[in-house]
């Protein structure tokens, strides 16, 4: 069995004001469009101005979120860096691809290509921190962040004193949004993120962001929460497989459903894909408070990293911010949160977090 991981620091750049030092969701940013951009912090705090100009947004977001989490953990540099990104560096990939097609493979320059590889964010962080440790990047769709967490758990199993910087990051570009929109993924009219989870219509909203964590097998001075367990379910065939998987996850980890104060789900406003959440919430956790996060950050393959960030903030405060409640609050104090997320109904994950 895998031991729990202590969360010693968190950092997040998102469509909410998570990177400006204000309290979590003190002020809630709402959107009336199908595309939620991150609120850019002042990147100059962490990145040399000459470098900023050359860096695409995904790199800046990743660097900022990682710096915030290292600051919170009170360390300069981690033992290892493990990232998850489904789309990688879309902007640089797009720039190179556009020029390559438009210029018929002639007169191209290297910068965009160099920064297009999926490990650019992890590589840049290592470079800025002179961190020679283990460095890995997972790029598996809706499991990218979960796989990064899994690799972190296994690495900490071997070396519990390590402090690993682990995060999820994805960006939207004009072209990626235009292409994903053509797949019919997003709502096209009457969008308001304040009530989107109750819309009962097809489609969701596109999101982006970076959330990083400093994780260790030991508590240290700064840990506020733990990740106790994590499991992923790939392409379940039906509702029964999802339900059984959840039941197995709870029993394998000796969790009484009544001990879960908050079930934090990845509802995104698409009525058919939200049915998966209905089933799990009503069958196993009738007494738990239901909270949601994708109306705040949008839907994207590594959105579960924002979910973990939000769960930690809830555990830290002991309560659920009103903007995250889906229905009434039933808990006294938030001590245990189960994050259940799925992406496109094909990639399901369960992450259990506790206060420490």
């Amino acid at each position: 069995m895998i031991n729990k991981m202590y969360i010693r620091g968190t950092g997040c750049v998102s469509p909410q004001q998570t990177a400006d030092g204000s309290g979590f969701l003190e002020e809630v940013r709402t959107y009336q469009t199908s595309r939620l951009p991150v609120i850019d912090p002042d990147y100059k705090q962490w990145i040399d101005i000459k470098l900023i100009r050359r860096m695409s947004r995904v790199i800046k977001m990743g660097v900022a979120a990682s710096q915030l989490s290292l600051q919170e953990a009170g360390i300069q540099s981690p033992t290892a860096i493990i990232t998850g990104t489904a789309y990688g560096c879309l902007a640089d990939t797009g720039v190179f691809l556009n020029k390559m097609v438009a210029q018929e493979e002639q007169m191209l320059t290297p910068t965009a290509f160099i920064q297009s590889t999926h490990n650019t964010v992890a590589g840049q962080i290592a470079l800025m921190l002179s961190c020679h440790g283990y460095n890995n990047t997972f790029v598996h769709r809706g499991f990218s962040f979960e796989n990064a967490l899994l690799d972190t758990m296994l690495t900490l199993q071997e070396n519990p004193t390590a402090q690993i910087l682990t995060g999820g990051v994805d960006e939207i570009t004009d072209q990626s949004h235009a292409i994903l929109e053509r797949f019919g993924l997003y709502k096209s009219s009457n969008i308001d993120t304040t009530n989107i989870l109750h819309s009962e219509t097809k489609g969701t909203i596109n999101g982006e962001g970076a959330a990083f964590f400093v994780l260790s097998g030991e508590k240290g001075d700064n840990a506020v929460a733990t990740i106790d367990a994590m499991a992923t379910l790939y392409k379940p065939t039906d509702v029964y497989e999802r339900m059984n998987f959840c039941a197995d996850f709870l029993s394998k980890n000796n969790i009484e459903p009544t001990a879960v104060d908050v079930i934090l789900t990845g509802r995104n406003g698409d009525f058919s894909s939200d049915l998966s959440y209905d089933h799990i919430e009503s069958s196993y956790f009738p007494g738990a408070t239901i909270a949601c996060f994708k109306h705040l950050c949008g839907e994207y393959p590594t959105a579960s990293s924002f979910g973990v960030y939000a769960a930690v903030q809830m555990l830290k405060a002991g309560e659920v911010p009103p903007a995250m409640l889906f229905g009434e609050a039933k808990h006294k104090q938030v001590k245990k949160v189960l994050l259940y997320n799925h992406h496109n109904n094909t990639h399901h994950s369960f992450i259990l977090l506790s206060v420490c």
């Binding site: 556009n98 097609v101 290509f113 999926h118 490990n119 002179s130 020679h132 997972f138 296994l154 053509r182």
Partner: protein, 398 residues
């Protein structure tokens, strides 16, 4: 929990053969697979030689049963995975808890770059089926679904070291008792995106590449896929034959020097090799052969060579770059070379480094130039280094 992680078999498709046997024959006959571009449509056809898999997409579709519109990356992957699993003789894959960890660098880019021609002309244009599998993870899932693998799927992308990192995670999952077997390696097809990208870096050779030769001026790109099947102690005893060898050590370190270039003293390379040997519990003198990263660029070979000389302190074991035959297959290279290195331990093979003529002035060792088998190779090291400073080394042991 498993004490050891065994290599139960492997599969390869690349520029020198469509399976393990064909590849070994090409090495034995000194027949590299690097030629003029034939299948990839690019403005650089006839300029930069490449090591293509000698099959059209239609032929690969027929061989795999996948749709001809499927990314070539996924089709190459499936063929190598099928060979790898069949080579173990373990039978129905659904009997076991099997994971699939595949690496690649550009996912379905071969189709996306076709899509973009129409899309740029009109944003409502271009067939969506050409971008639906753009993500790196999509190629992995096409193969996992075709194989019936469900317990674990993941995709790693750390540029040219990706494939080696897939074996590391696989080994950890088996040791932690979470899976019985893992098919681990990588795949990449040639794309205009990568050919042009490497061209802007001015590290492509217009002639055939010459790894570890003083006259080297760059690499030749290749394509392919390579996977090993890692199994736990229990499955190792169920194999109809003997396991090929074991994966006894691995390490991943970051050079933290430059986004694309290696540090002059090969810091990351040195750290990766040194830590991998420590994990394996062996000394540098125990290593009998090194499968070099050896791309043939001025920068890589000198950094890698200096790191090797530092670690092996004047007693460098036989070493060679199989990229002189297969080209640099990027995300696939760590997987392909893991198969070659496993076979090296099993059959005592030392691979030739093609076209070596001139001793590098910075180094005191030179690569092996002839094929031999039946050597006594208790431990073999395989190196994979890449952009983003990512450096990985694997140790295969008898």
């Amino acid at each position: 929990m498993s004490q050891q992680v065994w290599i139960a078999g492997g599969g390869v498709i690349c520029g020198i053969g469509k399976n393990v046997e064909e590849c070994l024959t090409s090495f034995e006959n000194m027949q590299p697979g690097i030629e003029d571009m034939h299948y990839l449509q690019s403005a650089h056809k006839g300029v930069f030689p490449v090591a293509e898999v000698k099959s059209s997409n239609a032929e690969l579709a027929a061989a795999t049963g996948l749709k001809p519109s499927t990314s070539r990356t996924a089709m190459l992957s499936l063929l190598a995975v099928q060979e790898a699993w069949q080579s173990t003789g373990l039978g129905d894959i659904k009997q076991f808890r099997v994971g699939f960890i595949s690496a690649n660098t550009v996912g379905g880019m071969d189709k996306t770059e076709d899509f973009y021609i129409d899309f740029l002309a009109n944003p409502q244009s271009g067939q969506l089926r050409h971008v639906v599998n753009h993500e790196c993870g999509a190629a992995t899932e096409i193969v996992a679904d075709a194989m019936g693998i469900k317990h674990h799927v993941s995709t790693i992308s750390t540029a040219c070291s990706s494939g080696a990192n897939a074996l590391m995670l696989g080994s950890r999952l088996i040791k932690a008792g979470m899976l019985d077997a893992v098919i681990a390696g990588g795949t990449d097809s040639l794309t205009r995106f990568t050919v042009n990208g490497f061209n802007t870096l001015m590290i492509l050779d217009q002639a055939l590449c010459r790894p570890f030769d003083d006259t080297r001026t760059g690499l030749n790109l290749g394509e392919g896929a390579g996977y090993v099947v890692l199994v736990n102690d229990e499955l190792a005893t169920k194999l109809p034959g003997k396991p090929w060898c074991k994966l006894s050590g691995f390490a991943n370190a970051n050079d933290a020097y430059h986004q694309t270039a290696s540090s002059p003293d090969g810091t990351g390379n040195y750290l990766a090799m040194k830590t991998a040997l420590e994990r394996s519990g062996i000394e540098p003198k125990d290593v009998a052969y090194i499968n070099l990263h050896g791309t043939g660029t001025a920068n890589n070979d000198v950094s890698e060579g200096i790191a090797i000389e530092r670690l092996f302190a004047g007693a460098t074991p036989p070493a060679s770059s199989t990229k002189s035959f297969t080209g640099h297959t990027l995300g696939a290279s760590g997987g392909i070379e893991a198969v070659f290195s496993s076979l090296a331990v099993r059959d005592g093979i030392i691979y030739p480094n093609a076209r070596f003529q001139h001793q590098m002035k910075e180094l005191s060792f030179s690569p092996v130039t002839t094929f031999s088998k039946g050597n006594d190779l208790p431990h073999v090291v395989s190196n994979s280094f890449g952009f983003g400073g990512n450096c990985s080394s694997l140790v295969f042991s008898r």
